[in-house]
């Protein structure tokens, strides 16, 4: 399954997350393998800096 399809299936807006595998980013069109472990990290924060 591709990253974008995974996000769609989980009903996650792709603008609100980054997807990380190992120590780098995985773009939306990458085909994930069954053995892949990815972190879907939210990027939205409370806005106080």
């Amino acid at each position: 399954m591709r990253v974008h399809a995974l996000l769609d299936r989980l009903d996650i807006n792709r603008e609100s997350v980054i997807v990380i595998r190992g120590d780098t980013l995985v773009p939306g069109d990458v085909l994930l393998l069954d053995a892949d472990v990815v972190e879907i990290r939210p990027v939205i924060s409370g806005g106080c800096r």
């Binding site: 807006n13 792709r14 603008e15 609100s16 997350v17 980054i18 990380i20 120590d23 780098t24 980013l25 995985v26 773009p27 939306g28 069109d29 990290r41 990027v43 939205i44 924060s45 409370g46 806005g47 106080c48 800096r49």
Partner: protein, 316 residues
């Protein structure tokens, strides 16, 4: 997906620019966006002494990193808020990053230096925690900059932050806040210039920047932020952005270009006639400034208090 610049494998897409980037060129893209923002708004001069408000989160650490990469003389300023584990961790992230870039991190601790922390102080002063926190940050960042001889204070507000604040202000037609919502607040007597160099970069890009630069940042949110209105506005805007990339940037930047000047006079009136605070000397409309009043209440024992209730959040 191929990098727009080198045609190598891309690691991120930025849909509002209709572009994909490899790690190297994405980092260059972020630097370029900040460089352009600084130029466009005349935010600072190459030899300015710059103080970056650092929280340990992605935006402020990325901002510090970018300013150093662009050659600015930028130090960090960390304010310990005393919010349990959240503050303990944010201190580590800030110090670790400062060590890594061999940067100077100025530290202020609310409890040690001012006698209160946010959770207890806000309760004693009967203010919403975020309101007490925002007021403390504004006051102490400014004071630290004045005392340290800095020319400018930079904060890590990004495009999503500003678009969400704008949406909130428009939904309620807060004309006074609309007049003040600009990426540059010029210096005035007693106030150092404040700027927001990340307003062209989206929140997702700042998170991506940190990952690609190997910057360890605090992903955990401040517990006080849970469920605040601001987050709801961001989610609403992201919903629109997903179907129509570029809307967020247009909403905020077209406001600056076409509409913000219409609201400016409203806010300027408020700034006239400031006096020096009887306690700390900073400019204020009253006899004692809002921060000194907060300190007085937040450090008072709960028995001898009679303070007006002041609720609702304010954002810096």
């Amino acid at each position: 997906m191929k990098c727009r610049v080198c045609k190598g494998a891309a690691v991120i897409d930025v849909r509002r620019h209709n572009a994909n980037f490899c790690a190297e060129h994405f980092i260059a893209h972020c630097h370029e966006q900040v460089r352009r923002t600084i130029d466009h708004f005349s935010m600072m001069q190459p030899d300015d002494r710059v103080l970056v408000a650092v929280s340990g989160g992605k935006d402020s650490l990325a901002l510090w990193d970018i300013l150093l990469s662009l050659g600015y003389r930028a130090d960090g300023l960390y304010l310990g808020l005393g919010i349990g584990d959240y503050s303990t961790e944010s201190t580590h992230y800030s110090r670790d990053f400062a060590d890594r870039v061999k940067g100077r991190l100025v530290e202020i601790d609310l409890l040690a230096d001012e006698g209160f922390d946010i959770p207890t102080g806000a309760r004693l002063a009967r203010r919403a925690p975020c309101s007490a926190c925002g007021l403390s940050k504004r006051h102490l960042f400014n004071r630290a900059a004045l005392e340290g001889g800095y020319d400018v204070v930079c904060t890590g507000h990004n495009l999503d932050d500003e678009a969400a604040v704008l949406l909130g202000n428009v939904l309620r037609w807060n004309v006074e806040y609309l007049g003040r919502q600009h990426p540059v607040l010029d210096a005035r007597p007693g106030f150092v210039r404040k700027v927001k160099p990340l307003v062209r970069l989206a929140e997702r890009e700042m998170a991506a920047y940190c990952v690609l630069r190997g910057i360890d940042y605090q992903v955990e949110e401040c517990p006080m932020a849970a469920g605040n209105r601001h987050i709801g506005y961001k989610e609403a805007l992201d919903g629109i952005e997903a179907g129509s990339p570029g809307t967020k940037a247009a909403f905020f930047h077209e406001f600056l270009d076409k509409a913000s000047h219409l609201f400016t006079p409203e806010s300027d009136v408020v700034r006239e006639g400031l006096l020096a605070c009887a306690s700390c000397g900073s400019p204020t409309t009253g006899e004692v400034c809002a921060f000194c009043r907060l300190v007085e209440r937040a450090t008072a024992s709960s028995s001898n208090m009679s303070v007006p209730v002041q609720l609702g959040e304010t954002r810096s």
